[in-house]
Symmetry: C2
Subunit: 232 residues, 2 copies
């Protein structure tokens, strides 16, 4: 939509992959609509996933015992975070919609993207207990969506399948990260087992993503509560 | 137990932290029993969490389109994985028990430990579809245990709490990683909100871990099926 800003956080090593194509389609489709699209291409940026002392510029709050959470929180309040984090936080602040594009690794996101969460969504920026979940700091008109590919097929990721219901995998990421920060969670975009399907089906995955993006601004968020995940 | 080998994969930046103490106690207690204990101290090793081209030594299987899973699998079969991965895999192969010691970050493990999973437990070493879950490649007499600290307290991590049942967080890690590789999963060791409790309670956390370790070799694994996690 014209005037809207989108941040795509993208974690795949290969532009020719399906993840690469899904990212490219999102850039194309959203730009066509007049949205301003920014991509954080984590592998290309060689994004640092480790939470260490170097994230804090200058003196530590407590040099006797390093506590990353406390130090990052203090540094955030005092403008002493490392430059790469400030830059990512700036992109998040400006965005109306965050899209995370990645291949599912071990029932979760790849380490490089987990590191983005660990380092960018710090206390004082994305939450500030008890300001979390519905009162998380990113709660103002910001939406977020996980778009990912899997190795296993849809049958494996069913309640009766070996890998269990795919929604069980979504809980830590959607509720534990996105909702925790106050973001409104849109339904995930999941491409099951693209490496094991015919070319035609992969094309279908790309076109249904493009189609969904045409009306993405009209979508209502999911109700991010246990019932959505566990049908309880 | 005498003659047994243990690998502790440890992810905390500060030796003086509770995680550091839990790790030290495990080393001490298990060594006292006569076990041979190895620690992979990930921050100290500056362990690389990113899955990239440099994990494969020499030519790629398909240089036209980089697929990490395929390349790592081929490199594993052909002995062309990078030295740091071969070293971690050697430690895993030798271990009778794997202990993962970490602070819970965002309903999961810190990125540096997620990267250890992404890069060490690759196809051909830890699984080889359909050799996964009960037929995973690490299924022979190898046990694994997650030992972690949380920010939120036990009430928050209850079924009715804001963060939901702690077992919902365990599913991707215990079932999706450890069980997927065929490991027998021991009950997790969880220290809730050590930063918010009195010193006496933190000491209690350490002593109950030490006590548990005295009989760790007698423990039966959990039944790692959906019922354990979701009571369904």
């Amino acid at each position: 939509m014209a005037g809207k800003k989108v941040l795509i956080v993208y974690a795949h090593q290969e532009p020719k992959s399906l993840n690469g194509s899904l990212k490219a389609i999102a850039v194309e489709e959203l730009s066509k609509q007049g949205s301003d699209v920014t991509v954080s291409d984590l592998y290309d940026m060689q994004f640092e996933p480790r939470t260490t002392r170097t994230d804090i510029v200058g003196d530590l709050y407590n040099p006797e015992q390093f506590n990353y959470g406390v130090e990052a929180w203090e540094a955030c309040k005092n403008g002493c975070l490392s430059e790469d984090l400030i830059e990512e936080q700036r992109k998040v602040k400006e965005a109306d919609l965050l899209i995370f594009q990645f291949p599912l690794y071990w029932f979760s996101m790849p380490a490089i993207m987990k590191g983005w969460m660990d380092r960018v969504f710090i206390q004082g920026f994305a939450h500030d207990f008890p300001k979390c979940f519905d009162s998380g700091l990113l709660r103002y008109n910001k939406k977020a969506l996980l778009s990912f590919t899997t190795g296993g097929d849809q049958g494996m990721y069913s309640k009766e399948g070996l890998s269990g219901d795919i929604r069980w995998v979504l809980w830590p990421m959607q509720h534990g990260i996105l909702h925790f920060c106050g973001l409104s969670v849109l339904a995930p975009q999941i491409c099951f087992a693209p490496e094991y399907v015919a070319l035609e089906e992969r094309k279908q995955m790309l076109s249904s993503w493009a189609k969904r993006l045409k009306t993405i601004w009209e979508e209502k968020p999911i109700n991010c509560i246990p019932e959505w995940y566990y049908n309880i």
